[in-house]
């Protein structure tokens, strides 16, 4: 890679992931359907070449997949556990993207300690929703508030969910959590920066979330405003996909350990990785057929 293309690539990463993200989200706020273009013009300026950053490749594959009808796509995620350093950027990025309150988490990173002192090692397991092909959380819902979309993403209708939490008990990966209506300013930090922390947390609590392409301003009360009082889960950032953006956790992963793409397209990175010998899914014995898989 020569200097010029290197600059182009780095500029692109910055551009697509940084400014472009913010701008498109800004646009989306004003008009949710305005940005559903068929391609990202900026991508045309970068030639596909061997050794390019996987984010660029996945971005290109994302645009290709989004030009297909919904039912022809099948989103999958591959997490390379060998590359994960447990920096928790995905967890934090996800929280920022979806404005998650305390007690709700879509993608924690499990830090497992193996062995006993002094022979100890650690391994890390980021745990988003498995987006099961046979999701145990769906048939338990008494009001059809959760279902698997044609593209394989398991979603929740916040306006229907009655908050019974049956789906939370049904998920074998504990990938669903409950929004109790709490905010970060509750018992906010004390000490020198307490005031600042409180102010920041209050601002954060006012920020809407754009899950499912809708603007959600949550609040508690006699009739709580959803998603307060609902089960919540990772959506593979379907609202970002609509704007040709990769899921937040994919873009924030500093080790490029999280890969994302269309499993129905054999040329995508995820399709190629998913069939490797070292690709495994969690609890395969339950027959849930996760579309999130791990490389060991």
């Amino acid at each position: 890679m020569d200097r010029r293309s290197f600059l182009k690539v780095s500029g692109l990463i910055g551009g697509t992931l940084g400014a472009a993200d913010l701008l498109t989200i800004g646009d989306a706020l004003a008009n949710p359907n305005a940005d559903r273009t068929a391609s990202l013009p900026v991508l045309d300026r970068v030639k596909a070449e061997p050794g390019e950053d996987v984010l660029i490749r996945m971005q290109r594959e994302l645009v290709r997949a989004m030009n297909k009808p919904l039912e022809k796509r099948r989103w999958g995620m591959i997490i390379d556990t060998r590359k994960c350093v447990a920096c928790h950027s995905c967890t934090v990025g996800c929280i920022m993207e979806n404005k998650l309150p305390p007690g709700v988490v879509y993608r924690p990173v499990i830090d497992q300690e193996i062995g006993s002192y002094p022979n100890v090692s650690r391994r890390f397991l980021p745990r988003p929703c498995m987006q099961c092909d046979n999701p145990p959380c769906v048939p338990v819902c008494p009001v059809k508030a959760t279902w698997k979309r044609p593209d394989g993403v398991v979603v929740i209708d916040y306006n229907v969910c009655i908050g019974c939490r049956y789906c939370i008990t049904a998920c074998p990966y504990q990938a669903r959590t409950f929004d109790f209506g709490q905010n970060w300013d509750h018992n906010a930090a004390h000490g020198n920066d307490g005031g600042l922390a409180l102010e920041t947390c209050r601002k954060y609590a006012q920020e809407p979330s754009f899950e499912y392409g809708t603007t959600w301003s949550r609040s508690e009360g006699v009739i709580p405003k959803s998603p307060v009082g609902n089960a919540r889960k990772c959506t593979f950032c379907v609202h970002r996909l609509e704007h040709r953006q990769l899921p937040m956790c994919v873009t924030t992963c500093l080790g490029r350990a999280t890969l994302f793409g269309d499993l129905n397209d054999p040329a995508t990175l995820v399709s190629q990785q998913a069939v490797r010998n070292n690709a495994v899914s969690l609890k395969p014995e339950l027959g849930t057929e996760p579309k999130t898989r791990y490389l060991l």
Binding site: T91, P108, I162, C164, R165, Y166, P172
Partner: protein, 408 residues
């Protein structure tokens, strides 16, 4: 404080005892009412259940009360359908207890919902794959049936009613009771199936679970009826003594059957001390809440009642034993719900990402004061409902002169 006030007032006189009970009820109603208010204004925020232990005291209380209801109803329906003459005087009492205990459970499960205002969606857009939808439909049908049965029973007893009409009323009641038996079996077992059908939860995922729930419902419901008959029955004659003794014997048999099922449920999957079920059994038996099993359930709910019921024929002692069974059965319900949730489905999840603000990402659970407060409110509500209903349907507790006519 309660004890000292008891001795200060002196419980010997009935008037004083009534005053004390009123005072206790008002206290419970105030505490519970404040809990209801907190729940309506701020949702489930003050609870201790969490994202990882999403069901707690209220769900356990809900299955407890609905079990009491189904048990009492099954007793009533069996008496009527199979024409068990000796037990016929308590038919209406059992029916009324079923009508009182189910709303107590429904109140708690309603408060448990994140969106109480959307509960009707289960009726207008149900998903019949879901055991929960089934349960809601079954108990709605069941509640309607109980009310209709109570009304028919009341109607058939109105003074001056045409004897032919009375015969028709009774025939209708019998049909309703026949419909009610499979309905309440389905509903009581269905609550167990709600848990048992979840493949993700090994502690619940057992085919014995629905049966265990059903027998538990019968045991606790019959015990409740026995305790109320022993305590509140107006006449204290020989017939009453026989009635209480017979009911006491029934409770004894049911406790023993329940114990066998419990042994099977706990011992089979954990006998060789290997596997995750074994860990959960250990949690129930030797975990932080070991006393719930050993003291509340096994000692006070099984051993003491067995000894009392097997040895004694005094109605008062039988009543005490039955009350012990009925009350401590709550421990059984708690030990069915909570242990199914206490271990992380993925090892290390409890450490992965914590929530220091709401404490919602933890696998430790002990019901918060607020949860107990709402439970107390539900009990006060049930007592009030009982108080009103026995005045609306006075034949439930027949005065000595009436008792010979009842249920014939």
């Amino acid at each position: 404080m309660a004890v000292s006030s008891v001795s200060a007032i002196g419980i010997a006189s009935p008037a004083n005892r009534a005053r004390l009970l009123w005072a206790l009820w008002i206290l419970a109603a105030i505490i519970g009412g404040l809990g209801f208010l907190e729940r309506l204004l701020h949702g489930d925020q003050a609870t201790d259940f969490s994202s990882y232990i999403p069901w707690g005291l209220w769900v356990a209380a809900y299955i407890y009360f609905s079990g009491l209801s189904a048990g009492a109803f099954l007793l009533a329906a069996t008496i009527y359908v199979f024409r068990i003459r000796v037990l016929e005087p308590i038919f209406r009492l059992s029916l009324l207890l079923a009508a009182v205990t189910l709303p107590m459970g429904l109140l708690l499960i309603g408060f448990d919902l994140g969106h109480l205002e959307r509960a009707f969606l289960v009726i207008i857009r149900p998903q019949f794959h879901s055991m929960m939808a089934w349960m809601v439909w079954l108990y709605t049908a069941y509640l309607i049936l109980v009310v209709v049965m109570l009304w028919s029973s009341y109607n058939s007893d109105r003074p001056g009613r045409d004897p032919e009409a009375v015969t028709k009323d009774r025939a209708r009641l019998r049909v309703l009771a026949m419909i009610g038996i499979p309905l309440s079996i389905g509903f009581a077992g269905g609550v167990g199936a709600l848990f048992a059908t979840l493949a993700a939860r090994e502690f619940w995922h057992s085919s014995l679970f629905p049966i265990f729930f059903l027998v538990g419902a019968l045991t606790s419901g019959t015990a409740l009826v026995t305790a109320v008959v022993a305590w509140q029955w107006p006449s204290r004659d020989a017939a009453w003594k026989d009635l209480v003794t017979l009911l006491g014997r029934t409770v004894l048999v049911l406790i023993l059957i329940d114990l066998i099922l419990e042994l099977a449920e706990f011992m089979t999957p954990s006998w060789y001390q290997i596997g995750s079920f074994y860990e959960l059994t250990r949690y129930v038996l030797f975990g932080p809440y070991w006393y719930v099993f050993w003291v509340v359930h096994l000692l006070l709910g099984v051993i003491v009642p067995i000894v009392l019921l097997a040895k004694n024929r005094s109605p008062v002692v039988t009543g005490v034993a039955a009350a012990l069974v009925a009350i401590t059965f709550f421990a059984v319900r708690l030990n069915l719900v909570i242990p199914g949730l206490v271990t992380p489905e993925l090892r290390g999840l409890e450490q992965a990402y914590r929530d220091p603000i709401g404490n919602r990402l933890t696998f430790a659970y002990f019901p918060a004061w607020f949860e107990w407060q709402v439970l107390l409110g539900a009990i006060a509500f049930g007592v009030a409902l009982w108080y009103v209903l026995i005045r609306l349907f006075p034949q439930v507790l027949p005065s000595p002169a009436q008792s010979s006519e009842v249920g014939q």
